[in-house]
């Protein structure tokens, strides 16, 4: 069953406008937060156990406390560069509840002492940008942004920035490069953005869902928030369910929810006559689970880590028995090769080779040793680069080849898919 904490009013059209949002408790918690000590807000967020909802799952309160304790100007940046294949929750949140994000951001900005924030939205999201820009204007007119917010003496400006199509800008230092008007290439860490970020100033980058959740931690308190989810993965989470299920969509459930229930209850189960083959539980970068593993999995950081995969962005991609795993790996490798920013050799060259090798198998030109070559190349890409894209490309390869090796071997031996005709030739006419 869904637990609608953040999404409670998403079905109401009025919720996207200031008046409608206020009818349902909007900005009451901003007023409450502005009367608190900033450090008390940070402590509350830390105690709530909230973890970053964009992919890495790092403690939000901890991230905030890495900021230098001085008066140096600092920035808050909302990462709305949603691009992890399979993920479409931030888009929903921006389209349906822009003020929920803005309120969460002003509270967070007040907590960390930031006078300026940006919402960095992926370039293709024209409509969400339009909705957000209108909402920011509404907030300015109502005195919720700008000088002396609600008479508190706190000043804060907010702006929306549109990216221009680059998966790598979802990586926080890549995002910062892009916001600075550069190529979106990630930077070496340390220094971490909290110390030196946007324009070399301390910067906090948080995901849309993370910042929106802050409002509810202030409303109900850390202890109440922790009642949702599991002990180590508190709270609710939006899961983007896609692929071969009857009812794909965004569903908000408690962390720790059964993956089986998400697919078979919320998702309505498999299509007629089809069986589950595999599930990618946390966006395309997360190692794949077999159907058997998936049925035992719960959707929390710990369980999925124990199973050798990750919760990631919460994008659950369901693959049925009509699909060819070699073909699907080809789709993923095309993507990572296209999106590698090119600055680190293992990633730039590695993604190219992985793409080439898997497509040579798909063309019927594969050799048995190519399967081990995929594993070898992928192994050499792990942990050797500035950012996580290289690992994100390597991990699916290792899990696909290990868990579905028979499909790869069949493809090489027979020159065709064990399951269906190769799509390779048709895509390259």
């Amino acid at each position: 069953m869904e637990t609608k904490l953040l999404t409670e009013f998403y079905h109401l059209d009025e919720f996207r406008f200031l008046d409608g949002y206020k009818k349902h408790g909007g900005y009451v918690n901003l007023a409450k937060a502005l009367k608190m000590q900033p450090q008390a807000i940070i402590d509350e967020v830390k105690n709530s156990g909230l973890r970053g909802r964009g992919g890495a799952g790092f403690s939000t309160g901890m991230k905030w406390s890495f900021l230098p304790k001085n008066n140096e100007p600092r920035y808050l940046v909302c990462n709305a560069d949603e691009g992890e294949p399979g993920t479409f929750k931030d888009r929903l949140m921006m389209e349906r509840a822009p003020h929920q994000l803005i309120e969460g951001m002003i509270i967070s900005a007040f907590a960390v002492g930031s006078k300026k924030s940006y919402i960095y939205v992926r370039g293709e999201y024209y409509y969400p940008v339009e909705v957000l820009e209108q909402a920011v204007q509404e907030a300015y007119k109502a005195g919720l942004l700008g000088k002396n917010i609600l008479g508190s003496g706190f000043d804060h400006d907010m702006d929306v920035y549109r990216g221009a199509g680059a998966y790598i800008c979802g990586e926080e230092t890549g995002l910062i490069s892009s916001l600075e008007g550069q190529k979106g290439q990630p930077k070496l860490k340390p220094p971490f953005p909290a110390v030196k970020g946007y324009l070399q100033k301390p910067t906090i980058v948080n995901n849309v869902e993370t910042l929106a959740a802050v409002k509810y931690i202030i409303r109900d308190g850390a202890a109440a928030y922790k009642k949702f989810g599991t002990e180590k993965s508190p709270g609710t989470k939006l899961f983007s369910l896609s692929g071969n299920v009857r009812k794909p969509g965004n569903y908000e459930v408690n962390l720790g929810y059964s993956l089986n229930d998400l697919i078979n209850n919320e998702g309505g189960g498999m299509k007629p006559g089809r069986k589950l083959k595999a599930v990618i539980p946390g966006g395309s970068s997360a190692p794949v689970l077999t159907a058997e593993e998936a049925m035992k999995a719960t959707l929390d950081y710990e369980c999925l880590a124990q199973m050798g995969t990750m919760l990631g962005s919460g994008a659950v991609i369901v693959i049925d028995d009509s699909q060819c795993m070699v073909d699907m790996l080809g789709v993923l490798m095309h993507f990572y090769h296209h999106e590698s920013c090119g600055q680190c050799t293992p990633c730039r060259e590695g993604t190219g080779w992985l793409n080439k090798i898997v497509h040579s198998i798909l063309e019927g030109k594969g050799r048995l040793q190519d399967i081990d070559l995929l594993v070898k190349v992928a192994d050499n890409m792990k942990g050797r680069t500035i950012c996580a894209l290289s690992d994100a490309a390597a991990l699916p390869v290792l899990s696909f080849v290990t868990k579905f090796r028979d499909e790869f071997e069949f493809y090489v031996r027979e020159g065709r898919s064990k399951v269906r005709g190769s799509f390779y030739a048709q895509m390259h006419h």
């Binding site: 949603e82 691009g83 992890e84 294949p85 399979g86 993920t87 479409f88 931030d90 888009r91 992926r122 370039g123 293709e124 999201y125 024209y126 409509y127 702006d159 920035y161 549109r162 990216g163 221009a164 199509g165 680059a166 998966y167 892009s178 916001l179 600075e180 008007g181 550069q182 190529k183 979106g184 324009l199 983007s240 369910l241 896609s242 692929g243 071969n244 794909p248 969509g249 965004n250 990618i280 395309s284 994008a315 991609i317 369901v318 693959i319 699909q323 073909d327 699907m328 789709v331 993923l332 993507f335 296209h338 999106e339 920013c341 799509f423 048709q426 895509m427 006419h429």
Partner: protein, 164 residues
């Protein structure tokens, strides 16, 4: 870069005003490069040329090489001409599972173009793109700035045929 000798691009008065506004909007003027490329691309029939880059360099007072590297990095800036309706079909995993690649092929076939080509009448161009965040309503396509979701080959063609 030699073609700059016959540079012909110039922003309209409104376009220039928009670029000036973006230049004043952020902490540094480099942050205005991406927004300004959008303005210029719109005024140059949907793609960026060397002349466009040079003109932006001049009005923004930013080195051409700097604007050029930003332009080349991001996929939403087109390096070649596109149709009046630029059709981008998602072929990443969630869409591929639900027929995104079959949809791409169907659209190309019906319009009589290959990926990356523009139809003879200049109305359409088709390309395949990576995940656009519409995975729960797969397959999908983006035409210029609008999303069309939960498509079938037939419904997609009906939408495209209805475009002027």
């Amino acid at each position: 870069m030699l073609e700059t000798a016959k540079a012909t691009f110039q922003l309209s008065t409104e376009g220039l005003a928009e670029v000036k506004k973006e230049l004043a909007r952020y902490e540094t003027k480099e942050s205005a490069i991406i927004p300004s490329l959008y303005v210029a691309q719109k005024e140059n029939k949907g793609f960026i040329t060397t002349a466009v880059i040079h003109h932006l360099g001049q009005v923004m007072d930013i080195p051409v090489s700097k604007i050029n590297e930003v332009f080349k990095f991001y996929t939403m800036f087109n390096q070649v001409p596109v149709g009046k309706h630029h059709v981008q079909v998602c072929t990443n995993i969630s869409c591929a599972l639900e027929g995104g690649r079959e949809l791409t092929n169907h659209i190309c076939h019906e319009l009589g173009v290959k990926l990356g080509e523009v139809t003879a009448d200049g109305r359409f161009s088709v390309s395949r793109v990576e995940c656009l965040g519409s995975c729960g309503t797969a397959p999908m396509m983006q035409v210029n700035d609008k999303y069309y979701e939960s498509l079938t080959p037939e419904s997609a063609m009906n939408i495209l045929r209805g475009m002027k």
